[in-house]
Symmetry: C2
């Protein structure tokens, strides 16, 4: 069950001259591709590439998580992730991909796990809305923050901690599980003091690379997903990516394609799954791609301002929203289709309305045929106007293929970091906002930043309508 | 309760030289702005600008819709929109903005209307999933297609029609309401023959401009939203937009800002609401902006390939996903924040964890303070790196301010169409894909297109990994 990457329509021989990648341009990248592969392999499992070990070294962790998940399922009706960024996007994407599309709306006996929410914002209306629909006495909250300093998550945690303690007293501790660093940060000492169950994020696994570690594995397991299969899929993709020849290594070739596309002025990367189940994969990818590659300086500290902007799209839905722009608009984007070989359901369109041929012709076809035809047609319409696209095909959507897909994108991102000569694993641009937030909230230690903010030139009324 | 548009941080005097809009550049647009305003006013209420009458001429329609909505609420537990593009995005966005964030999860006595789904894809898994969680005998389906030729919607319709007839016999007709053209298309004769209730889409109202006509008004009314207030908000914004002076007309000034930004190479427009309730406004905006402005040719038929790519974002959530790129990455985008003055709930973060100051400092603040501080901080972090942003403030999120916001974006889009000298109201680029789909499905009359598709050069195996 191998996923495939098809980059035919990235090539000039299909798109037309000047609008795609010349074979010579591809060949010219061979040296850089080899170097990038070597650089990544040298760092394998070390530093911020510790996530490359995730498919292999979690046998015991998986057992622990599955046992914990079974216990949670038995005793609770709700499971709520408190996390933001990778701590939320990965769990959401995998749940959407591998469980029923209306999972929460299923009756309990048809649901493989508790009702599941991922809370990744601090909107007060959303906090209240969550509390309106859950019974906290029957809820486990999974607080996910490696550092324990994530303001959004820790705010939610403080609220939930108090509510649980008021409602359950000493039993409150059974309703919180912390996923955090094993040896540092603010959440660990709290968890130890309070007696919360703990899972650990390995040191060299950053938030956006954490779906295949306990951050993602616990929520998936709780909802009945086969996490061993997820990891097996990742391991399978990892094996494919050990090959240094870009013609054989799907993630490396994809990175090469995107690098050339960026050089050609394609500053936008549209991810367009043709399956509702994969819709949140685009959100997960958007973080990975944006936060890893959007960088002010290169490895030598020179100002480079790199980054390609990811755009989340959904087929066929966005054919009636975005495709007009994608086809007729500027040559500024690459589309990546996520295609599904076989959907898990076949649904036949009923016959009817025989006196209205523009409607009745649909009857007898399956929805499966229709969605596939529309994807093919969209790919063709783009090509006709000279637009580049790639197609990633999952033979079917299951834990094994989703594991491949996640790991493939992580590898592509690592290779791209090498091509751009940047640090793909930090996020320095987020610090300024964090510090300014602390200053605005009057946190001790941020007085200087507060003074800086207070010294901002005032906004002008003439520029407000 | 007037929404405000703040464009201070679009201006060079704040962003720094070369990174924002010079006052002289703004002044230089005054003539074009006057001309665009005049052009739009000349077309007011006519042709494809018939939507400019929507705030004023629907008194009787509103009464009819409110009566229909009351009847639906009384007799049913579920209300399902079958539609795609504007027929889905508008109803979804308004529902999310104005009802409980977990509306469907509320018990019946706390919900102002039936459980609500919007089905805007033809994924067979999603179709099955919907049918798994609704009781069609207690469901009204609102089939929305002006032409009645929308394959996706009509496929869903055929399926639902058969299921209802099998389950309810002659009563099936009471479970389908069609929103379509009053005098043409494929759905009208079907509805008349079957005896379905009907609502009409005015001739000059295209899908993406249809939220304030029956397309959007019925779903909103069914879910208990005050549609008269929505229209009153639109009318209020319309009055503001009658002023020809760009300094007083928020939509006109916004279009001027965006036009200059595009000329400066900002080919991306990020819409970033700081409120979960407004999250789907970004999706609605994305269609409006992309489909209206992404055009191959101008009004004289010259190839221009215009269009700015809309990106959906969400604060604070995407601070942990996209903001790294927005701050440190290329100068290729404009951010528009949607700010909320007062949220409809105040939630105080509980005190606790006093021995961990990096956590305990949050206690006692409200989530409201935190989300506002984070927005301000993000705006500031962007500015510090020379990135342009606008801020639209809704004093609060209610039907009146949401009506303003919808109408404001529609007006901005109309003005931008004038600046770009394109037809903002057609979507020719979607036709190629539609025709290719028909050909691939073997529909009679599309044999020539089928031959064209069959003559495509085959994809090469060497470009598939």
């Amino acid at each position: 069950m191998r996923m495939r990457v098809d980059f035919n329509y990235m090539m000039e021989e299909f798109t037309g001259a000047g609008r795609g990648i010349a074979k010579s341009a591809l060949e010219a990248k061979r040296g850089a591709a080899l170097a990038a592969h070597k650089a990544v392999e040298l760092k394998r499992g070390k530093g911020w590439l510790e996530w490359m070990s995730s498919p292999y070294d979690q046998g015991e962790v998986v057992k622990e998580i599955n046992a914990m998940a079974a216990d949670i399922r038995e005793k609770n009706d709700y499971f709520v992730v408190l996390g933001i960024g990778g701590s939320a996007l990965g769990p959401s994407a995998v749940q959407k991909a591998l469980n029923h599309i209306h999972y929460n709306d299923l009756p309990g006996d048809k649901r493989p796990g508790p009702i599941f929410y991922v809370e990744d914002n601090i909107d007060p209306e959303r906090m209240q809305a969550l509390l309106d629909v859950i019974d906290i006495k029957k809820t486990v909250f999974n607080v996910i923050s490696k550092s324990g300093n994530t303001s959004e998550t820790m705010s939610q945690f403080l609220i939930v901690k108090k509510l649980l303690e008021d409602a359950l007293g000493a039993d409150a501790k059974d309703h919180i599980i912390c996923t955090t660093s094993s040896h540092s940060g603010s959440l660990l000492p709290i968890a130890k003091k309070e007696g919360y169950r703990l899972l650990f994020v390995p040191d060299g696994v950053g938030g956006r690379f954490s779906e295949l570690c306990p951050v993602g594995l616990l929520p998936a397991a709780v909802c009945g997903i086969d996490i061993e299969e997820l990891l097996a899929g990742a391991a399978y993709m990892d094996q494919l990516c050990r090959v240094e020849d870009m013609d054989e290594n799907p993630a490396l070739m994809s990175a090469v394609m995107m690098k050339i596309a960026i050089e050609m002025g394609r500053n936008i990367s549209v991810m367009m799954p043709y399956a509702d189940s994969l819709s949140l994969m685009s959100d997960w990818y958007a973080q990975l791609w944006a936060e890893s590659l959007g960088k002010l300086v290169d490895n030598e500290g020179r100002e480079v301002r790199t980054g390609q902007t990811p755009v989340k799209s959904l087929g066929v839905t966005d054919q009636h929203s975005q495709v007009q722009l994608y086809t007729e608009g500027p040559f500024d984007k690459v589309l990546t289709f996520l295609k599904v070989g076989e959907y898990r359901t076949t649904y036949t369109i009923s016959e009817g309305c025989e006196d209205v041929p523009s409607v009745s012709f649909l009857g007898g076809h399956t929805m499966n045929e229709l969605i596939q035809a529309e994807r093919d047609a969209t790919e063709y319409a783009l090509l006709k106007l000279g637009k580049m696209s790639m197609t990633i095909t999952l033979p079917e959507v299951n834990a094994f293929t989703v594991g491949q897909l996640l790991y493939y994108f992580q590898m592509e991102t690592a290779y791209m970091g090498e091509f751009l000569n940047i640090d793909a694993f930090n996020q320095p641009g987020v610090e300024e906002g964090k510090n300014a937030t602390y200053a605005l909230l009057g946190r001790p230690g941020y007085e200087e930043k507060k003074a800086e903010l207070d010294a901002r030139p005032p906004k002008k009324d003439e520029y407000i309508i």
